[in-house]
Symmetry: C2
Subunit: 120 residues, 2 copies
């Protein structure tokens, strides 16, 4: 599919998709046999990746971190051990985030208690 369809499928703007491509998160392929244009073609895996990017961004991962995770899964860039190390590191940071969010909930619930009882 071309970028417009990819944009519709993922809900991301073509600009944003190109930004992710420049950042090395995804990669389209140009058709070598067609010489009249230089359009990029994207596959289903790219749709998957963009969905993953969207979700990973919303939990606070940076472009760099997301790139690393994508490489750990879709690429042959790293050894099996390296891939597992990258993914385990991210799992640890997610557990840390879970802990921090639960703490923050407690803190806000405490604020709420103070408001409810006119202590502030």
């Amino acid at each position: 599919m071309l970028i417009n369809e990819l944009s519709k499928r993922t809900g991301l703007s073509a600009h944003t998709i190109r930004f992710y491509e420049k950042s090395g998160l995804i990669e389209g392929k140009q058709n070598e046999t067609v010489k009249s244009n230089n359009y990029y073609h994207y596959d289903e895996v790219t749709v998957e990746k963009l969905e993953f990017i969207h979700d990973a961004k919303s939990v606070g991962f940076t472009i760099k971190e997301i790139g690393l995770m994508i490489d750990a899964w879709y690429n042959q860039k790293y050894s099996k051990a390296q891939k597992l190390e990258i993914l385990d590191e991210k799992l640890i940071s997610l557990d840390q985030k879970l802990k921090e969010i639960k703490e923050m909930k407690k803190q806000i619930l405490h604020f709420k208690g103070d408001v409810l009882n006119d202590r502030c």
Copy 2:
């Protein structure tokens, strides 16, 4: 205390503290009786606020959102009902974050499974 001590107490640089002050998150007081300088003095509540700011930032809240929460707790700017609304909204967004992080954990565990079983 002066900004240097506040910096040491909180682990935040004086620059960052001044940035938060300009952003309206905290407020120091100048001593009106001393006319030879314009040094700002900070109290224990400011230490508390900066600790809260640090924690709130690490769970992904923006400066604007943090300002709103601080106002909902330390200020008389909003009515009781408004304060509760602000805090409840943040609690909901934290629950959303919890959900998203758990989903992301599942996704990464799935990646790990694929790596372990040489499926990628």
